[in-house]
């Protein structure tokens, strides 16, 4: 079934659109972001292309350090500089290229049309400003909401994210909140201007399983209500399975596989995806089988191996893998993979 895909790659000179670009809310093309450390450059994002449809939830998975967060932050140019730099690529949001915008234009997009929820709820809120001050800020900046309406709007937001007794909490400071509640405040802040795209970078990693479920359910409901798109970054495949429409699997700064949740889970085509799924201990496993880890260590992004970045750990590696970096190309329909081998063989 996959022979055709491997032996007859599509014309590569033509970028293969993931979704119809006209339809896509966000279209990322060939994004490269590096971090410079002295004379060393870490290619944290190394040629990433993908798109997010309207109302779609895109998940980005991959192990720690694979470049998920940097990809997300590059979209809004939130890469700290120095040492980071976006050296190439285009990010079209609704047809406008975010990477070519002036600072002022960019500011009007940030927090307004695209909002972001960061990985660390404990530290992403300013400890010396009250929740009210922080919550109202995006509205003041972007929406010119009248002062008298701001309080009502803030309360409304807190209610939406199900913070009990919002009136009492509005003037509290972040340290008076638990981790879960802080993350909810972050979400409320992100939602303040009803963004069209929400980027949630591991919104629950730092939280307990029970709180994680609450937050994710909440996000799912809210995006559905507003019809916004969402990029959900995580390395928890379980979360992805439940919430994502589409999945991008990243490894060493590149997307190695992309497809719908079902495609990825039921028919993974990249050896890394395969390994990832196999190494998860599963509650629903029939018996306590021995786990099948991916052997070896993740690559050093400052000095990545030649060819396919995964080849040193890949059980299927063949000589070609050591020399040539496989392009991301369709395997079947919108299911893309970047691998020279056919894992079924």
């Amino acid at each position: 079934m996959s022979d055709t895909a491997v032996s007859q790659p599509l014309d590569q000179s033509e970028e293969m659109p993931v979704t119809d670009p006209a339809d896509a809310l966000l279209q990322v093309e060939n994004l490269h972001t590096v971090f410079r450390q002295g004379r060393r450059a870490i290619n944290a994002v190394n040629g990433v292309s993908f798109s997010v449809g309207r109302g779609e939830t895109l998940a980005i998975v991959g192990e720690s350090g694979s470049g998920k967060s940097v990809t997300a932050m590059s979209l809004l140019r939130l890469i700290p500089s120095p040492p980071g730099e976006i050296i190439d690529g285009d990010v079209y949001f609704d047809g406008r290229n975010l990477l070519d915008m002036s600072e002022d234009e960019l500011r009007s997009v940030r927090g307004n049309e695209i909002a972001m929820i960061f990985q660390e709820p404990m530290t992403s809120l300013n400890p010396v400003l009250s929740v009210r001050q922080q919550l109202a800020e995006p509205m003041r900046v972007h929406r010119k909401v009248k002062e008298e309406n701001i309080e009502a709007r803030c309360l409304d937001l807190l209610r939406q994210v199900r913070i009990p007794d919002p009136e009492a909490r509005l003037d509290a400071y972040p340290h008076q909140f638990s981790g879960g509640m802080r993350q909810r405040v972050m979400i409320a802040m992100a939602l303040a201007c009803e963004p069209r795209l929400l980027i949630a970078d591991e919104p629950t990693t730092a939280l307990d399983v029970t709180v994680q479920a609450q937050i994710l359910e909440l996000l799912k409901d809210l995006t559905r209500q507003h019809g916004s798109s969402m990029i959900l970054i995580t390395h928890d495949l379980g979360v992805v399975a439940r919430y994502a429409d589409r999945i991008n699997v990243m490894y060493a700064g590149q997307i190695v596989e992309s497809g719908t949740a079902l495609e990825i889970f039921e028919n993974p085509r990249h050896p890394y995806t395969l390994g990832l799924i196999a190494s998860m201990p599963r509650l629903d496993a029939e018996e306590k089988a021995r786990l099948k880890p991916i052997e070896g260590q993740p690559p050093d992004l400052g000095n990545p191996p030649a060819g396919c970045a995964f080849h040193p750990r890949c059980p299927f590696a063949k000589p070609q893998c050591r020399e040539q970096d496989p392009p991301l190309e369709p395997y079947r329909g919108n299911h893309l993979k970047a691998c020279w081998v056919n894992v079924d063989e």
């Binding site: 192990e63 390395h235 439940r242 509650l283 880890p293």
Partner: protein, 343 residues
């Protein structure tokens, strides 16, 4: 195994007094991190200890190691009461119990070479004599956990998380302990590395006949490695059972909620799974735990008695104990809740 378990803990309590002030040196309040925990650990088995963050898992582990002052209760190792050991005898005891830590980055002294980190217990307890023997022993340990001998001269920061965790394991093994307390040894690791470490721990157990107290909050991981599982909530044990039994037949509403909250990496299963609403709300503070059953404010089955009377941990079936009024003979009916995917 034999009748006396390797380790037995009876009614363990660990309370941390809240810091006093100048005018009120003893504020009276305390964090009841562990509040009456009893369990036993048989030789060669792995006991899982799960529960939400802050429920007292680590503190239980520390108390067993005698690293934290015990407020009440007794700890017996191989039938000997070790609760009150002090000084030299305590230090000797520590040889028998070792610990593997959650944070592979913080658990290794950044200024020591791997050789010295792994070998430190050997030096502390004078287990080998001579540099040659020392080195050979460290090499053996490194090989055991899958580290290359060439790495002995390097410093921890030159290693990845998984490798560091291996160093930590090698160090724990150095003193040839009987019990190893694993405090969330894989939580900080990536799934792909996590699997490596879990396999390693299992292999070592088979090879060396180790006994693990395995603290974690990831129930899927626990299921993979543990023979029995103990669920804690707010300093109390709410349920203990054999691993398979617990996962297929969770009885305490908290266990059920916990299990239902775990997403499963399978889109088809996930689309069918319902999230248990009883997990709404926040974990109460261990300074002012709720009266009666600590879980009652978040429990959808909460009854009047739950608010006032603290339930006791009682066997419902052989080897399956639960601490919930629902399972007491007086209660009206056994709840028929099941985790969807388990059905």
């Amino acid at each position: 195994m034999s009748d006396t378990p390797l380790l037995e803990v009876r009614n363990l309590k660990v309370h941390f007094p809240l810091p006093g002030t100048l005018l009120k040196p003893k504020s009276g309040g305390s964090v009841k991190a562990v509040d009456g925990v009893s369990f036993h650990l048989n030789r060669g088995e792995t006991l899982g200890l799960v529960g939400e963050s802050g429920c007292g898992k680590s503190t239980t582990g520390m108390a067993v190691l005698r690293m934290t002052p015990v407020t009440a209760g007794e700890i017996h190792l191989e039938g000997n009461n070790i609760t009150d050991l002090k000084g030299r005898s305590l230090r000797t005891l520590r040889r028998k119990m070792q610990m593997i830590y959650q944070d592979p980055f913080g658990a290794l002294d950044p200024r020591m070479r791997v050789l010295d980190i792994i070998g430190e217990p050997l030096k502390v307890h004078n287990l080998v004599s001579g540099r040659k023997a020392y080195r050979a022993e460290v090499m053996r340990l490194m090989e055991l956990v899958g580290l290359l001998p060439g790495m002995a001269e390097r410093y921890p920061h030159e290693f990845s998380g998984g490798q560091r965790q291996r160093i930590g394991i090698a160090r724990a093994l150095a003193a040839r302990p009987e019990v190893i307390i694993c405090d969330e040894p894989v939580s900080a690791l990536d799934v792909s590395i996590q699997a490596q470490i879990i396999n390693l721990l299992k292999d070592l157990q088979e090879e060396l006949g180790l006994t693990y107290l395995f603290v974690a909050h990831d129930l899927a991981v626990v299921r993979h490695i543990c023979d029995r599982v103990m669920v804690m909530y707010l300093g109390h044990v709410v349920e203990v059972a054999d691993s398979e039994e617990l996962y297929t037949n969770p009885q305490h509403p908290y266990t059920q909620a916990l299990l239902s909250a775990i997403p499963i990496p399978d889109p088809r299963a996930e689309s069918r799974r319902e999230v248990d609403p009883s997990i709404e709300g926040e974990v109460p503070s261990p300074v002012n735990p709720p009266s009666g059953c600590p879980f009652h404010p978040r429990c959808k089955h909460a009854m009047e008695t739950c608010r006032t009377v603290a339930p006791e941990l009682k066997d419902t079936t052989q080897g399956h104990a639960v601490s919930c009024h629902l399972y007491e003979p007086t209660s009206a009916a056994m709840p028929q809740i099941r985790v969807a995917s388990m059905a």
